[in-house]
Amino acid sequence: MSPELAQYLLSGITIGAIYALVALGFSIIFNASHVINFAQGEFVMIGGMTTVSLIGAGLPLPFAIVAAVAVAAGVGLAFEKFAVEPARGAPVVTLIIITIGASIFLRGLATLVWDKKLHALPAFSGHKPIEIAGAALLPQSLWVIGVTLAIVLALSWFFGRTLPGKAILATSHQRLAAQLVGINVRTVLFISFGLSAALGAIAGILIAPITLTSWDVGIMLGLKGFAAAVLGGLGSGAGAVLGGLVLGIAETLSAGYISSAYKDVIAFVLMLAVLFFMPRGLLGGRITERV
């Protein structure tokens, strides 16, 4: 493998892992409510920005991270309680529009609470790149990839082995039936917003040392994360990860070998091509069959 190819792949995997984390958040809420939460990117922003200001206030990094995740989860819960729940029973499209409104609101709020400047977080374990096959990888990338893996494993345990997880899964498959067997569908929705906001915040904190963070960081990441979720199959955890990685690697390979000006075009055309032949995404179909 040439050093160039190795570098493209490593960069692609790092970017892909970031997209995957955001995509996971989309999937969780989609599972619980069939709503695509376009405010997902804003949770990423809230996570990063809160951590930055808590560190600025003198808190050590681990505490700041925990607190920021809690803040984001709180915002997610409040969002569900005050914006989504009052509109329950409304068509899914209405709910999606509410999430778009919430994302604009949260961005505006962020410019008031914080500022319009860019901020950087210190890397968790230094800036010294690690050499792999002639390519350089930042330690922070390992954090991103590692935590993504850990979260996927934790989520599959949560959804496959615990009662609340199974309840969310059941609700996603058949809402009415779930309600009939005694699952509190409203609580399920409430929990999934909190969970997905926390996930978004974790993503935002992990990537802040690499990509920097600012009030509008959620727009592009939200879009790419959504694309990754669709590519992998909406609602599928493994699909979100696969979709993120495919999108990330497609971007870096096309920037490296074809043209950096058209890398997003190529990545999105690839996505459209996949969806054309597999409308449920790479892993979406199989999940449905298993039901």
């Binding site: 319009k116 860019l118 800036h127 790149p129 350089a136 509008d216 920037a255 950096s260 997003d264």
Partner: protein, 388 residues
């Protein structure tokens, strides 16, 4: 905020008139104030331009008035917020000309707003000093239109000049997708050949991209690259700088004047070490040698601005300072506020020392700056140092 400001201006004006009337001081009543009109992007996406510009204009109109005004008359600022919108800029410019009957216009934070107003001022015949960057504003020369900021073409030439002095002939360009980035990239490509610089790689990244290692790897693999120039603005350049060190590119990295702020150094951390960029003298005001003719002007402006607003000075505010001072100087030399005479005096500006550099206008050049307007800076130990 805009409304409050206008109300305050109107209130002050009214109070002044009434006071003058009560005291029976005929002089102030008889002497109409000189009206300086302005439209700036005080809010909206270009607020980082318009905000310091407006503050600067208010500050210096106040200072000039405290010092007795111009031609024995007080200055009055009539400012509107065009919010980065060319359509609004046109409406406000018309209002300034037809209703407020201003004597001169100093404003236009962005190139889009400026160009939308050009036909109006040309038709009305009113001196207009723009605060926007692009070359198109003064090229071709328009009779009534002047501008104070340096252009991105000059930034390219400055960088290329520095490269040549280091024996660099082949370079790679990496730029973002924003307006500033694309304009500068275009200008650099245009003037590269005449500066004996060959561009062997031309890469780009999209707004919000979080990783540029792929583009930089490609540049690293391109034969003959002796330096890399990043024409960029905002978050991109900081990520480029970090990725640059990450994948271990060793040739010199140049940034543009778009990131000439402490913010960039802070965001890039150690990776910024050794990076060179062209910047206005204002940013390194205090570290200029005392022999530098510009030092007095930039240090004075910086202290005045930072003392008053408690925020870091920016080159954009400096452009507004230059615009206002050029207009005032021209009025003094013309001995009146007659529009045609002020215009002629503006065009005849020679040796005016402003925050952007020495201004020498002519019938062919309505900007009047040369490459000395830019200083070459290098980041050393997290601080700017002047490259000799």
């Amino acid at each position: 905020m805009k409304r409050r400001h206008i109300a305050a201006t109107a209130g002050r004006f009214l109070a002044g008139t009434i006071a003058a009337g009560l005291l029976g001081v005929g002089i102030a009543g008889a002497q109409e104030p000189i009206k300086v009109g302005s439209f700036l992007s005080v809010t909206g996406p270009a607020a980082f331009l318009g905000d310091p510009e407006q503050k600067t204009l208010e500050l210096y109109v106040e200072k000039l008035n405290a010092a007795g005004g111009v031609l024995g008359r007080k200055l009055q600022l009539v400012a509107y917020d065009s919010a980065g919108d060319a359509e609004k800029a046109r409406t406000f410019a018309r209002r300034l000309i037809e209703q407020d009957r201003v004597d001169v216009i100093v404003g236009g934070s962005t190139t889009g707003e400026t160009m939308a107003v050009v036909p109006l001022v040309e038709q009305a015949g009113i001196p207009f000093i723009s605060l926007a960057g692009a070359v198109v504003i003064v090229e071709p020369v328009k009779k009534w239109v002047f501008k104070t900021p340096h252009t991105d073409r000059m930034a390219c030439e400055k960088v290329f000049g520095d490269m040549r002095s280091r024996g660099i002939a082949k370079i790679a360009i990496i730029s973002g997708a924003g307006g500033f980035d694309r304009s500068m990239r275009g200008e650099c490509l245009k003037v590269a050949a005449q500066n004996k610089i060959e561009i062997v790689a031309d890469e780009s990244y999209a707004a919000g991209d979080s990783d540029m290692t792929a583009q930089l790897t490609k540049i690293r693999g391109t034969a003959g690259v002796q330096a890399v120039l990043n024409a960029g603005f905002g978050q991109g350049p900081a990520i480029v700088t970090r990725n640059y060190r990450q994948i271990g590119v060793t040739v010199p990295l140049y940034q543009s004047h778009g990131v000439a702020s402490k913010e960039y150094v802070k965001l890039s951390g150690d990776a910024a070490e050794g990076v060179r960029l062209p910047a206005a003298a204002l940013l390194v005001a205090e570290s200029l040698p005392d022999s530098d003719a510009q030092k007095k002007v930039v240090v004075a402006y910086k202290r005045e601005y930072e003392g008053r607003f408690k925020s870091e000075v920016s080159t954009f505010g400096g452009h507004a300072y230059d615009g206002l001072m050029l207009a005032v100087e021209a009025m003094k030399r013309a001995g009146s506020t007659d529009k045609a005479r002020v215009r002629d005096a503006l065009e005849a500006t020679r040796g005016y020392m402003g925050t952007a550099g020495v201004v020498n206008m002519s019938a062919q050049d309505h900007m009047g700056l040369d490459l000395t307007a830019f200083r070459m800076l290098e980041v050393r130990k997290g601080n700017w140092t002047l490259v000799k």
